[in-house]
């Protein structure tokens, strides 16, 4: 719990946004506590937790869509910019612009560190498709963050892109 809590929170924040992340995180760990005794020995706990977080994230997004009242005035995600520890708010708002599948694959691969085979198992589809979605997501994030004044040092690594 102590070990995986931070990773799962990063994943939840990336997928459902800082707003619903707390709920998704709590639901994930409550569910994990219930199911843990049935988890086969030797399982990859982190991948298992991310898979639960994936389902809870989708639940959370659906619940939010149901709650949402179309007002034309889209509320901003609560940013945590300025909070000690510096969660990059530009990154969160950029993530929000990505399609869900890209957000998920980026989060599970880059934030949770899961290999694409494991990511594909969670989101469905082939590992190659997961890799493509994550690469598209990262490329798009990079473009967006470059456009943000004072945004992110991501542009520096542009040369790495193939």
């Amino acid at each position: 719990m102590e070990r995986h809590g931070p990773t799962v929170l990063r994943v939840c924040r990336a997928v459902v946004g800082p707003d619903g992340a707390d709920d998704a995180w709590s639901e994930t760990f409550l569910s994990a506590l219930r199911a843990y005794p049935r988890l086969p020995a030797g399982s990859n706990v982190e991948a298992w937790l991310v898979a639960i977080a994936h389902r809870k994230g989708i639940d959370e997004l659906r619940a939010r869509a149901r709650r949402a009242v179309p007002t034309g005035d889209v509320p901003e995600w609560a940013t945590t910019g300025g909070v000690p520890g510096g969660w990059e708010c530009e990154l969160w708002s950029a993530l929000r612009e990505l399609p869900l599948r890209q957000r998920q694959t980026v989060a599970y691969h880059y934030l949770a560190g899961l290999p694409y085979a494991a990511v594909a198992e969670i989101v469905g589809g082939t590992p190659a498709a997961a890799r493509r979605a994550a690469a598209d997501g990262v490329a798009r994030l990079r473009r967006m963050l470059q456009d943000t004044p004072g945004g992110h040092p991501a542009g520096r690594a542009e040369g790495e892109m193939s």
């Binding site: 719990m1 102590e2 707390d22 760990f29 409550l30 219930r34 690469a135 992110h152 690594a157 892109m161």
Partner: protein, 225 residues
Amino acid sequence: MTEGHGGDLFATLPRRDEDAHRRLHARLAAAAAEAGILDVAYRTVDSPIGHLLVAATGDGLVRVAFAVEDHERVLDRLGRTVSPRVLRAPARLDAVARQLEEYFARRRTRFDLPLDLRLATGFRREVLTRLPAIPYGTTASYATLAAAAGNPRAVRAVGTACATNPLPVVVPCHRVVRSDGTIGGYLGGVAAKWALLALEGAADPGGPARSSDQPANNSSNPPMV
């Protein structure tokens, strides 16, 4: 872990957000307790002999661990031996923390807490149940304890029982010393044992209870007798 390009995007993202985790943990612990799926609650307590980890099941206090035991490892083992449902839940251990505080402030001479002795079995458990009978501020020898536990020849086994006491401080194995008056070993280090006996007024610094391997350098001492 992250391969090639892209990882740098998240490199500046902090690994953890302490405020959020404190908040989320408290909320999870409460929800889990309510749902009856919190099997082991734990917290740490500051003390003059270092941070103590205290853990409790629904039956009572199950573990007190010194910092030298490595709290991470202790929690890991609790997860494997008692239940994987281990959560930091300070509120569940308020009484334990309060009584320890009072003890270290010399305002309490005995603990009044439900104990869960499941981590000790057989003769070891038999020995542990007899330890609270040694009055505050006094000591007993391993030999005396062995006799009291019904096996006068089991002096070494008493030593092992003390050395593997899952509830040190609360179950006072620190009051068990060698027959020759020297202090003997201690799970939390001889210095900690010495400090506890001094706190209780059972040891006179520099007095007869002082043993040759005292006070420091406890890490190289064998765990017992």
